[in-house]
Amino acid sequence: MAEPFIHLRGVRKVYRHGDEEHLAISDATFDVMPGELVALVGPSGCGKSTLLKILAGLQAPDGGEVAIGSAAHAFDPARDVGMVFQAPVLLKWRRILDNVLLPAEILGLPAAASRTRARELLALVGLDGCEDHYPYQLSGGMQQRAAIARALIHDPKLVLMDEPFGALDALTRDKMNLELQRIWSQSGKTIVFVTHGVAEAVFLGTRVVVLTAGPARMAGNFAVDLPRPRTLDLRTSERFGHYTHLIYQLLGMA
């Protein structure tokens, strides 16, 4: 059995507001294998975003064990994390190509090679021809594609996505799910994807981790054994329904 890329054991996070303590995550325990696309699903306030911040090294856990990287897949926390948020948060004053280049600039990567790579990534996310546009000239879905290209520019081993399609309309979201599946399979990245969409979690995930709120705890962790590439039709199949039902059960909603 191969070594996991991400290894979490009993991870705990507590927020303090004055004297009050609020448990954001308790006992998050799961592994992510290299190249997996793991979906973290749960209601608002279940600590999914907090878990993502812990993986990004932006917050320290209050307990438990977090290990990222393995002998075969070394992990440098400074340059191996790419992030995508619910809002595209592109810089309004930069053209799309220069937006994609931001992480490369921060890391001081060679400019010419980065520009070439940025163009390739824009082609990968379906934005070829938009290099010189400003963000306001693109729709929300296209801006989010640019944000995905930005997350990949420095060739990180781990991409963290925090409800990246949560602000999009349902049809655009479907399309972006297909696109992300393609981008993931072509780039071979390990992706941790936070969502509150049950169908989205099953559709995208090689594995789904279910988190609940109040009390915050990890309710389940299972592999999704559905053929790839997955199509939107698949969502009406019985096997797909089995997985979504399982998530609702784990969330105590079925």
Binding site: K53, L58, L91, P103, Y136
Partner: protein
């Protein structure tokens, strides 16, 4: 593809057509002025016609260009000083929270001081001349620049902060790549407000005590009821303000793409 293209594809590439209504409105204003004089049979010393006003430019010993130069020096000097000090202080505050927490309340109080009331004091300190008037212009227009810049530097999306932090970006990188360009539209919003104030400040200074400048000239010709010259002075003062405003707007358009502008 959900690709959109909003580039201007019409024949009017420079968009000159959109200036036409503004030009027409200005001409109409002059026309109304003219009609008011002609139909109202108003005497010249109450309301001179546009032509009388223009004629003042060629007649008399008004030293127009010398006075324009003096007033411009006060307006532009005070404005530029306010820009440097206002933006500089705001930058300092964004770098040191402690400094900001001490100085900001003081500055808010100082902002409440009517700057015009400081005029006589400034003149006592620095006597007549270009310098005290520049200071009055500065004192009146520095606050909006400081306040909007400070606000712009604070407005940083938390996600972008996370993005830079996750990459272990330096504070300097955060500042140059995100904070400062993000604050530019706010700085320009403050700069536009400040134009009007700088002009007012310089003229007030000249009213209070001066031996040169368009405001000084107005007081001189007022004695002889030379209203056309007073009008001409007002027109020139206004043009100075318009020129400065145009300069600021041009700079804004050059530096900031359309959608990123505020105000």
């Amino acid at each position: 593809m959900d690709r959109r293209d909003r580039r201007n594809t019409g024949g009017d590439r420079l968009g000159l057509g959109r200036y036409a209504p503004g030009v027409v409105a200005h001409l109409a204003l002059v026309l109304v002025w003219l009609l008011l004089v002609k139909l109202g049979h108003l005497p010249r010393f109450v309301l001179p016609s546009p032509m009388d006003t223009a004629r003042a430019l060629g007649a008399g010993n008004y030293n127009w260009w010398g006075n324009v130069a003096t007033t411009s020096a006060e307006i532009f000097g005070g404005y530029f000083l306010a820009l440097v000090v206002g933006v500089g202080l705001a930058l300092l505050f964004s770098w040191s929270k402690v400094l900001a927490s001490f100085l900001m309340p003081v500055l808010v109080s100082l902002n409440m001081v009517p700057k015009v009331a400081l005029g006589p004091i400034i003149i006592v300190w620095f006597k007549y001349g270009v310098f005290p008037n520049t200071l009055i212009a500065f004192s009146i227009c520095v606050f909006p620049i400081l306040m909007t810049t400070a606000r712009g530097l604070r407005e940083i999306e938390p996600e972008l902060l996370d993005l830079v932090r996750a990459l272990r970006g330096s504070r300097w990188q955060l500042f140059t790549k995100i904070q400062l360009p993000g604050a530019l539209p706010y700085i320009f919003a403050g700069m536009k407000v400040a134009v009007v104030l700088a002009v007012a400040g310089a003229i007030v200074g000249e009213f209070l005590g001066s031996d040169r400048g368009l405001g000084y000239l107005m007081l001189q010709v007022q004695v002889t009821l030379d209203t056309p010259a007073m009008f001409m002075a007002v027109v020139l003062i206004t043009l100075l303000g318009v020129a400065l405003y145009g300069l600021v707007m041009g700079l804004e358009r050059w530096l900031i793409p359309r959608d990123a502008r505020v105000g």
